[in-house]
Amino acid sequence: MAEELKIRVNEQESIVAADRDTPLLYVLSNELGLQGPRFGCGLAQCGSCSVLLDGVEIRSCITPVGAVEGKSVTTLEGLPALYARQRNLANAPALHPLQRAMIDEQAPQCGYCYNGMIIKGFELLSQKPQPTEGAIREAMNGHLCRCGSYPRIMKAIQLASRIMAEERR
């Protein structure tokens, strides 16, 4: 049965009407109109629907909306602001350094998987600011790209790591 749930997404409280077992993805897409998380498999196998839950990457296609009450969800749209909070910046940049690096590397082709790639890359860079190539391969392995842009995503994460190190100074 649909009920009113209070969820916190990109630092905004929203009241949504949904069954508690509705996957979070459908609430984010259809009730909140967010474009970052998007359907890919519905089976937590591809990473298309990834969001951060209290800073940890999860698959919103299999996470019931009822399970995120009282927690903080961040989508692709909220990454620049989250970065600003992490760094105590006065203003959120237009894009997170990883998003800028993806542009610099001209990484995407169709770009549909880039929600998950950027969410997971953000989590990785938050935990390991200077990840090795092996660490990137391992961390990103749950995220598919069908166009074959893995090498450019690799370069973009490495570039973002350097940009973030410079911005810290």
Partner: protein, 744 residues
């Protein structure tokens, strides 16, 4: 609750403000692109390609909108085409933008397939831009009172040579008014020596929005009052033609899901609901009994193909092949096998249809808006000009995946319920009801003389072709399905097989397998047939090189006369630092062995070459591709950065298809329905890639999205021989097949 933009239905609206790439500036928290209802029956016919206004509109702010019929699939066509238009118009890239592709707004440039966009439609657009420039020059000559030959243009501002004070902008000359001229076909085009944009590395116009989350993918589009729909089919298709006949439907099985209902037309079944999750659950729960005849050749696919009643054609028969083989110093002979593979787009297809009494608006990710428009009209009982198809990009599909099937499904459901319906396929729908790249079987023989000259080459291939209709259409309309046909990239083609090497005695035979005799649906999957053909033929070439103890690069060089094939061979060998040697000179006892291989390939046009460095674990049978080099000569390359990105993607996808991808099926249905049962190459296993663009300013632009795939697969297979001394005759080169090959 939601505000939404009205759709820009007519081209006149498009001319008003120039707000062309529909800017979804929506009030409130919603950022989804919202498209308004169909305001009135779409009266607009397809723009007439003979009229200049069908191609280019110049706005008062001195920018231009380009109307192109080819869709963006992530390959960068939009950027490349805008470069061509801006070049010819003497505008900056920041002054041009592309209109959304729409049957009623943009001209019909045919399907975005076979890497034809830049090759065939680039010149078409260049011609239109030259016409526009010519018309603008005539207007400027009058306005500035100067002869056309004294006019100069920079960034859309026309000046008079030697009198810089006299100037007028394109926008001031014609801003937001129509040219009202017919194409003359005679407008002068800029010589290549004066190019300032074409051949440069202009960044892709779509990437910033794709990484920010602002890009409007099809999956993001909504209409007010719409329902969510899902198709209901057996999990995984069976034999093409009779794999989904309804015996009974128990509608009460979803009575517990509020607002959900069944839509049935013929053997087409779907469900709709107000909420998406309810539609998903209803599709899952609806009890349908299907008649699923056990007609698929599980476990005996290649035997069935070989023994079927084929339609045979001799593609090439030159010289005296039997005599040449009889006198050859060495003959290499083997049978090769290639699997059914799926397009397997990262996201399943999505479409949104609003069908009224005498009109339909269908938004979808088709590769051919005008093609699906006709199928929609036929299915809906409308005329084609009553159907408007608007394109939104989805996830990359690499050929005819389910995007048109999904568009028709949405339209059938919308017509049935009288409301807009958004349909998104589930993962199992997309992988289970794809138009698969067909399986392939080949007998290959090659002969060489003692000096390393190719004497004879024989290739006989078996293959069923492509189905021509979409599943939703066939299910809804009923009646017999059309037999699959061989496409343009036919099974055995001389472009791929014998255009590369000079050989005096050649025989190519095509065995067309009847596709209705118990096979899966077939369709064009990126580089159709090329992977299977190159896997077989390039291993044969490599075997012959080894037989005469020649370096595989030197052997190929000896047997090639075409300067462009030689160019691409040398380019990839140079980039890879190829050291001449006989392959697999000595066996190693190590568990993990390394190898390097080279191969050439194409897709009808353009010239592709690849070098592969691989590791083989001889115990586990795992192949790890460490580094791939891919070179491509596609004539004049409009934007080398775009082609590099395509080459890299081809190398990675070819690795996936060479090592992993294979559609699985029982005798009743396909069983590879998710990323566990249809795995593709993952991040941890991707090779390093080095793309090499062979720029040829003196040659016309040709395809650049498929032509390195075959070479890459051939190079990996040849590297396997170099590493192990064994040959792989079947791909994907899975560990079990590798272990079997090493035991043999």
């Amino acid at each position: 609750m939601m505000t939404h933009m009205q759709p820009t239905l007519s081209r006149r609206n498009l001319l008003k403000g120039g707000a062309l790439i529909v800017g979804f500036n929506i009030a409130g928290p919603l950022t989804s692109p919202m498209v308004g209802p169909l305001a009135a029956p779409a009266a607009a016919a397809t723009p007439d390609p003979e009229l200049l206004d069908s191609w280019i509109a110049v706005h008062a702010d001195n920018t231009a909108t380009v109307f192109m019929g080819k869709v963006e699939l992530g390959q960068g066509t939009t950027t490349g085409m805008l470069q061509i238009a801006a070049e010819e118009l003497d505008l900056a890239m920041s002054q041009v933008r592309a209109a959304r592709v729409d049957t009623n707004v943009t001209p019909n440039q045919g399907p975005a397939v076979a890497s034809l966009s830049i090759m065939d439609n680039g010149p078409q657009l260049r011609g239109a831009a030259a016409e526009a420039r010519q018309a603008l020059m005539q207007l400027a000559a009058v306005r500035l009172d100067a002869s056309v030959d004294r006019l100069r243009v920079k960034d859309g501002v026309v000046t008079v040579e030697g009198d810089p004070g006299r100037a007028v902008s394109y926008g001031a000359l014609i801003g937001d008014r129509q040219f009202n001229v017919k194409m003359t076909g005679k407008a002068p085009q800029k010589p290549i020596s004066q190019y300032r944009l074409v051949t440069t590395r202009v960044p892709r116009v779509d990437i910033p929005d794709k990484v920010s989350g602002k890009y409007a993918y099809m999956q993001h589009v909504r209409l007010p009052g719409m329902l969510h729909g899902r198709v209901v089919r057996p999990r995984g298709q069976g034999a093409y033609g009779d794999s989904a006949r309804i015996v009974s439907i128990d509608a009460s099985s979803i009575s517990g899901i509020a607002g959900s209902r069944v839509v049935r037309r013929g053997d087409f079944v779907g469900v709709v609901a107000e909420h998406e999750w309810d539609a998903v659950r209803a599709a899952e729960k609806l009890k349908v009994t299907w008649d699923v005849p056990p007609r698929l050749p599980a476990g005996r696919l290649f035997e069935a193909m070989r023994t079927s009643r084929t339609i045979d054609s001799v593609i090439v028969d030159t010289g005296d092949v039997p005599a040449a083989l009889a006198t050859a110093a060495h003959v290499a002979s083997a049978t090769y096998y290639g699997p059914y593979q799926s397009h397997a787009p990262f996201a399943p297809s999505c479409a949104l249809a609003d069908v009224g009494a005498g009109s339909a608006l269908v938004m979808c990710s088709t590769q051919f808006p005008h093609g699906v428009r006709n199928m929609l009209a036929q299915t809906l009982g409308l005329s084609s000009d009553q159907v408007q198809v608007r394109y939104y990009e989805g996830a990359g599909v690499f050929g005819r995946a389910c995007h048109d099937d999904c568009a028709i499904a949405a339209a059938v459901m919308s017509q049935a319920v009288g409301r807009p319906v958004r349909v998104q396929f589930m993962r199992w729908d997309e992988l289970g009801w794809d138009n698969y790249g067909p399986a392939h079987l080949a007998d290959v023989r090659g002969g060489v003389d003692a000096a390393g000259n190719m004497m004879a080459f024989v290739y006989e291939g078996w293959h069923h072709g492509w189905n021509t209709a979409e599943t939703s259409q066939e299910l809804a309309l009923g009646g017999p399905v059309q037999p699959p046909v061989s496409g343009r990239a036919r099974l055995v083609n001389k472009e791929t097989l014998t255009a590369v090497y000079s050989m005096p005695n050649v025989r190519l035979i095509n065995h067309h397998v009847p596709g209705l005799d118990g096979y899966l649906k077939g369709g064009n999957l990126r580089s159709p047939m090329d992977l299977s053909i190159s896997f077989a033929s390039e291993q044969t070439i490599d075997e012959l090189a080894h037989a005469v103890r020649m370096d595989p690069v030197a052997f190929r060089r000896r047997n090639i006369t075409d300067r462009r094939w030689l160019g691409v061979l040398d380019a990839v060998a140079l980039a890879a630092g190829w050291v001449p040697r006989v392959t697999h000179a000595a066996s190693s006892g190590a568990r993990v062995v390394t190898g390097r291989g080279i191969a050439l390939g194409t897709h009808i046009v353009s010239y592709g070459g690849a070098v592969a460095d691989i590791e083989v674990d001889r115990e586990s049978g795992e192949i790890r591709v460490k580094h791939l080099y891919g070179a491509l000569d596609a004539g004049l390359v409009v934007n080398p950065a775009l082609v590099e990105n395509q080459i890299e993607g081809m190398l990675i996808q070819a690795t996936s298809r060479a090592l992993i991808e294979e559609v699985q099926f029982t005798n009743t249905n396909v069983t590879s329905l998710d990323w566990k049962t249809y795995p593709v190459l993952r991040f941890a296993d991707h090779p390093q890639v080095t793309p090499i663009v062979v720029q040829r300013l003196d040659e016309r632009s040709t395809g650049a999205g498929e032509e390195v795939m075959g070479a890459a697969v051939g190079a990996i297979a040849n590297a396997f021989f170099d590493a192990t001394g064994a040959r792989m005759r079947e791909y994907p080169m899975r560990p079990d097949r590798v272990r079997a090959a090493l035991k043999a």
